[in-house]
Symmetry: C2
Subunit: 364 residues, 2 copies
């Protein structure tokens, strides 16, 4: 078992990386949360087989384990499903010795995490991500939340987990489209923070794409470490440092909002968003053609899309970007690369340039 | 203007105590939140006249000020009204330079505070309490939340305000029953932390009850300071110290839940709860008859009730107490006095004693 430690003072926690060892999760929860006597296991229709065996594991470890299941998909990140989890916690007679165990992808982590953040003013949370995207991104860093009909993740809070349990064997049964979608965030870490990791992905794209266990362990461990490094330095997204993680995301959120949640997987939107961001950076003269083509080539090699499936009106996309959580005073903000492994925040990008990038995105 | 400073590291803030000087609120907000350019003023039908003039004040100070109004009463602390505030924030195009200004009693502070805690993963919050109860209690300490149909404040989070603005002139128009209700928490501070303050209240009960401005300033300032002292030492209710503030509240929440929100005002329930807690402490031999009678006499002198208006079944009350947020593993926990100005946590009180206290409460 490998471990990535996230150092956040009294809120520090371990990310455990295993392969088919989930029978040991009970011991992990007991060690991370010695005072916990009961848990609510939350999953969705996709993760339910994992969630059920995890519930059994936790019961064997002496924990009173209830469960709640929500429909799979982004639409479950809503007030109604949140209220359902509150009811489930109430039925379990949850108190301060109760923890929430989120078994699933980003939707489950965000929704169950937000329920944990807000029930009884905060219950401990254990993340058990079952998708690549949630293993390398959403399970680490403490962001929880649900969607507002008008914007993604508009409602939420920072609530660090007490532990993250990653079982790479869960990736064996993940549908190809979803697995590949998760690789977008992996590529992102290379672009924004680690040129050597980017080069590793270039050289090993086939092993990664075919889920070679050794490649997976390296990719997931390195991604978690890179994200943890950033979160440790800017837990609440205040200094601006954590914003580097949003590379490609201003575009991506606009694609997801205008397309309706569910048309594009999050990672797919991020992949297209990174392509747009790189194009924008090139137009601003921050980087050259070689950067753009290396990134496009890697995304292609991993099976990721680099252009939106339909031509959404640029006006609509820009309107969403101006209301993005990361916008301030209606000004669009972009994280753009200055060289491989380094990005910076730009808040004075001329709108016509953004428009040009959006309008040429489909025809590329 | 008097100021009570709440020292919480990077989350420190000032409580400003004024009398009829709310025209200066704009400057106070500007000083506390130099980066804020827009505000959502939230009030209810009771506080609306204050909220409207505050909105005008903030506009004059150069802030873009939107507003939202919810019906008065505990029933507004629900997911539906919360969703309404999210919508209002969205309509205001709220971003990280937007603050929420809560103008009203505890319901508005809790509801608007929770919206601020969870919109965009946290907006700054300014509390402008308009009732005595919210001035001396709910505006200070960072607790925000809404009710679950089955339990009070079951959903919420800790979110410290960036500033609290108390205008004692607001108390002039407060209905007598509500003003008196707020005095229960004032008496509580004397009982749990400050015997001299308790004695001051005994000697000045008439001046306090008739809202003498000098007495009010002293009572509110001292109450805020005492609460701030506790919150500074146990911001997240983890060490057990903050639990002293729950004196009378385990009983009170049961009365409020069984009676239905709205039958008793919160302070009335707390007053009855303190009477029950004192009776329980006497039966356990922690205190003598003199303590109980001094407390009863002071509550009486201030016009507060010391017995529930109807006889709720003890079984129902005890069932609620076992599910109280402060309960652990179904064990009831009580904060009980050991002498005037000192309380301790007891988690091994025999249920039959609690039952006796509850059953004799009406007939006293």
């Amino acid at each position: 078992m490998e471990t990535v430690r996230v150092n956040l003072g009294s809120r520090s926690y371990d990310i455990a990386l295993t392969h088919g060892a989930t029978a040991n999760l009970g011991a992990f929860v007991r060690a991370a949360l010695p005072k916990t006597s009961s848990v609510l296991v939350v999953g969705d229709s996709n993760s339910w087989p994992h969630a059920e065996s995890i519930q059994a594991t936790l019961t064997r470890a002496g924990l009173r384990a209830g469960s709640a299941v929500v429909p799979a998909g982004e639409a479950s990140k809503c007030l109604e499903r949140l209220a359902g989890l509150y009811d489930a916690l109430y039925e379990l007679a949850a108190d301060r010795s109760t923890a929430v165990v989120a078994v699933g992808g980003g939707v489950i982590g965000d929704l169950a995490g937000f329920a944990a953040a807000t029930y009884n003013r905060g219950l401990p949370l254990v993340m058990v991500p079952t998708t690549l995207l949630s293993m390398v991104d959403s399970s680490v860093g403490g962001k929880t939340g649900i969607n507002h009909p008008k914007g993604k993740n508009l409602i939420g809070s920072f609530h660090q987990p007490a532990g993250v349990w990653i079982d790479l064997a869960f990736l064996n049964t993940l549908p190809a489209r979803e697995f590949i979608s998760g690789l977008a965030e992996v590529v992102k870490y290379g672009v924004i923070l680690d040129a050597a990791f980017f080069a590793y992905l270039e050289s090993n794209s086939h092993a990664v794409r075919t889920r070679d266990p050794g490649a997976l362990l390296r990719v997931v461990t390195r991604s978690c470490r890179l994200k943890a490094d950033v979160v440790e330095q800017d837990e609440y997204e205040r200094t601006g440092l954590r914003a580097v993680l949003n590379y490609g995301h201003t575009f991506a959120h606009a694609f997801e909002t205008c397309g309706g949640y569910g048309t594009l997987l999050h990672g797919e939107a991020v992949s297209i968003g990174m392509e747009c961001a790189a194009q924008l950076a090139r137009k601003l003269g921050l980087i050259g053609d070689e950067f753009v083509s290396r990134q496009t080539k890697l995304l292609d090699a991993l099976g990721l899309p680099t252009a939106p499936p339909t031509r959404w009106p640029a006006d609509d996309l820009i309107a969403v970007m101006r209301r993005d959580k990361k916008a301030v005073g209606g000004q669009m903000r972009f994280i753009l690369p200055t060289r491989l492994g380094e990005v910076k925040l730009f808040d004075d990008v001329p709108e016509p340039l953004v428009r040009t990038v959006l309008e040429s995105a489909v025809s590329r």
